[in-house]
């Protein structure tokens, strides 16, 4: 198992190196960075000087080395637009995105779990069938449309929840949280439900499938035969085993949620990383885009690694070579 974990860590490092190479190439083909730094009417000498200070006259592998050196020391360059460090801009927006994604995940997993287990235990009931049709509809409505629908009903028509921004936040160190104020939670509700909706449908389907497989196993029948109630068997015996495959999916889900947060943040003007990314793309602010890519890549590699290690620990039946 240790071997397997080591191998996965090495693989993750390879992926990260791959991402830095891609980012470096993107930087190379962005056009002349010296031009961007100097003013429009810079002389040839000034441009040459700027190129020398940026290291653009060095051979390619040395430039790549310098790029990796800077990035690993947290220097992602300045935003073209605000002239502040790009890393700082992205990191400042990270809490908003993570709080949104985690809330959405809790909604999706809890509600999806309950519906999924129910639909597996009583597959022929009317409620289960309705739920399954509901999930198909949930998958069919694009995230941004769900968001707009919710804004229309709950903000414009009913006025229960505010349609955009994050409300009041409390600063704890570098982390800003919206969980501690009423306004923060009210603002979080609609975006979190929107983001959770698509995953909710997915979780329901996955958990239902897993549960149905577990429910026909011998040990479930034995537990029933020795007199345990249906409820006890479902909750104590079956769910535990249906949960293991679900963990892999949960990791993928968190990744998907971070990706789709881009959409939800745009709809709700949520001040997160995704919102920043879309603005940076629109304004051609490449350092910010690259920083976003690098940070999200690290996040994904960490999520995947954690899931694989957890899976390996939780399910010792699988042999890893």
């Amino acid at each position: 198992m240790l071997n397997y974990i080591l191998k996965r860590v090495l693989q993750s490092i390879v992926v990260l190196i791959g991402v830095t190479i891609i980012c470096f190439i993107v930087f190379q083909y962005l056009g002349d960075a010296a031009m961007t730094l100097e003013s429009e009417d810079a002389t040839e000498e000034q441009l040459a000087e700027a190129r020398r200070t940026l290291g653009l006259d060095l051979p390619l592998y040395q430039q790549y080395g310098r790029f990796v050196w800077r990035v690993s020391h947290g220097d992602f360059g300045m935003s073209f637009l605000t002239k502040t460090p790009a890393l700082e801009m992205v990191v400042k927006r990270m809490p908003a995105t993570l709080e949104l994604a985690v809330s959405a995940m809790i909604i999706a997993t809890l509600i999806g779990g309950i519906i999924g287990v129910y639909a597996a235990v009583a597959p022929r009931s009317v409620l289960s069938r309705l739920a399954m049709i509901g999930t198909l509809a949930g998958i069919s409505i694009p995230t941004f449309l769900t968001g707009i629908l919710l804004i229309y009903f709950f903000s414009i028509k009913l006025g229960w929840f505010p349609p955009f921004s994050r409300g009041d936040v409390v600063q704890i160190g570098w982390w800003s949280t919206g969980f501690l104020t009423i306004s923060g939670i009210k603002h979080l509700f609609l975006p979190a439900v929107t983001l959770g909706m698509f995953q909710l449908a997915m979780s329901t389907r996955v958990i239902r499938g897993e549960m149905m497989e577990v429910l026909v196993e011998d040990y479930v029948r034995t537990a029933r035969a020795k007199g345990l109630s249906r409820f006890q068997v479902t909750v104590k015996h079956a769910i535990k085993n249906a949960l293991i495959p679900f963990i892999t999916i949960a990791g993928l889900q968190l990744g998907n949620l971070i990706a789709f947060a881009i959409v939800v943040e745009t709809v709700f003007q949520w001040p997160g990383m995704g919102n920043l990314l879309i603005k940076a793309i629109g304004q051609n602010d490449q350092p910010v885009v690259i920083t976003y890519i690098m940070i999200v890549a690290v996040m994904f590699v960490l999520i995947n690694l954690t899931v694989d290690i957890l899976y390996c620990v939780l399910n010792p039946r699988i042999a890893y070579d």
Partner: protein, 288 residues
């Protein structure tokens, strides 16, 4: 293999599949016939004026029969823009499936047939691609390329979607390459390309079409989402996602039709593709 007549009988027995099929045919018809049937041309900048902006649908107060479903903030006829937008959706959808399926199939063939370093290379690449959500890769690709257009969109989405076809194809090829007829072909002196493309491919590609059918819905959602974010097709190309992004701020003013009609069409389109795809998956390959 199931006989065609049996497939048709099964199809008509599933009300959801029939519903989905009928809707898709309607949408396809609307998209294909847009240049002939659409009352206005949303590409023609001279054909619409700001004086017609935000007109309600014909049955509401202030609506006119000239614009059946009303107009958007630039005075474009919503019905016509939806019809042309459907064209964009189908074009990107079918284009992406065509390119990613063909490319994915070839990569899967190569990986499964030659094994060793070819397989290692392709499979590692696939692993890296699969550790990031396809949608995120599409956003970043389009963000980095920063050049908009229907073809760019198809290209970016294809780069995100070929991996699954490769995976499945590779698995299928592993099985098919051990069959007797491949040995027979080889002993008759057939070269690699002949064995690959006329013997192995026809026997291992059918499952890819099922994946393609399910993927079509996903690709169309992604196209509309990217256009909604403003990094998809250019502003001049009608697209359902862009209609919605341009219109949803008007909801606050009670102007619902700019968002409602394209949203409804988009949701129904994806629902019908999913219904049909779901049925196809159960019918052809219950295990997939």
């Amino acid at each position: 293999m199931i006989k065609n007549s049996k497939i048709m009988r099964h199809y008509f027995r599933s009300p959801t599949a029939v519903f989905g099929g009928v809707l898709i045919v309607v949408f396809l018809f609307l998209a294909i016939s847009a240049p002939l049937l659409a009352p206005h041309n949303p590409y023609d900048l001279t054909a619409f004026t700001l004086t017609d902006r935000l007109k309600p649908p014909a049955w509401e107060d202030g609506g006119s029969t000239e614009f059946l479903l009303g107009t958007d903030d630039q005075g474009r006829c919503i019905l016509s823009t939806i019809m042309y937008g459907l064209r964009t959706s189908f074009m990107v959808g079918f284009g992406t499936i065509l390119i990613s399926l063909s490319f994915g199939a070839v990569m899967g063939l190569l990986a499964g047939y030659f094994k060793q370093w070819v397989d290692a290379l392709i499979s590692r690449l696939a692993d890296i691609m699969l550790s990031f959500p396809a949608f995120l890769i599409a956003v970043l690709l389009l963000g980095v390329i920063n050049r908009q257009g229907v073809f760019m969109m198809i290209l970016a989405l294809s780069i995100c979607h070929w991996v699954r076809y490769t995976r499945v194809m590779r698995g299928n090829v592993f099985v098919v390459r051990e069959r007797e007829f491949v040995d027979a072909a080889r002993s008759l002196g057939a070269g690699h390309s002949r064995i690959l493309f006329s013997h192995i491919m026809p026997n291992s590609i059918s499952t890819l079409f099922v994946i393609g059918a399910v993927d079509l819905g996903i690709v169309i959602v992604q196209e509309s989402t990217l256009s909604f974010l403003g990094i998809g097709v250019p502003l001049t190309t009608p697209s359902l996602g862009m209609m919605i992004s341009g219109g949803y701020t008007f909801l606050y003013a009670g102007i619902w039709w700019v968002v409602f009609f394209p949203g409804l069409v988009l949701a129904l389109l994806i629902l019908s593709i999913n219904l049909l795809g779901d049925w196809l998956r159960r019918e052809i390959n219950p295990k997939l």
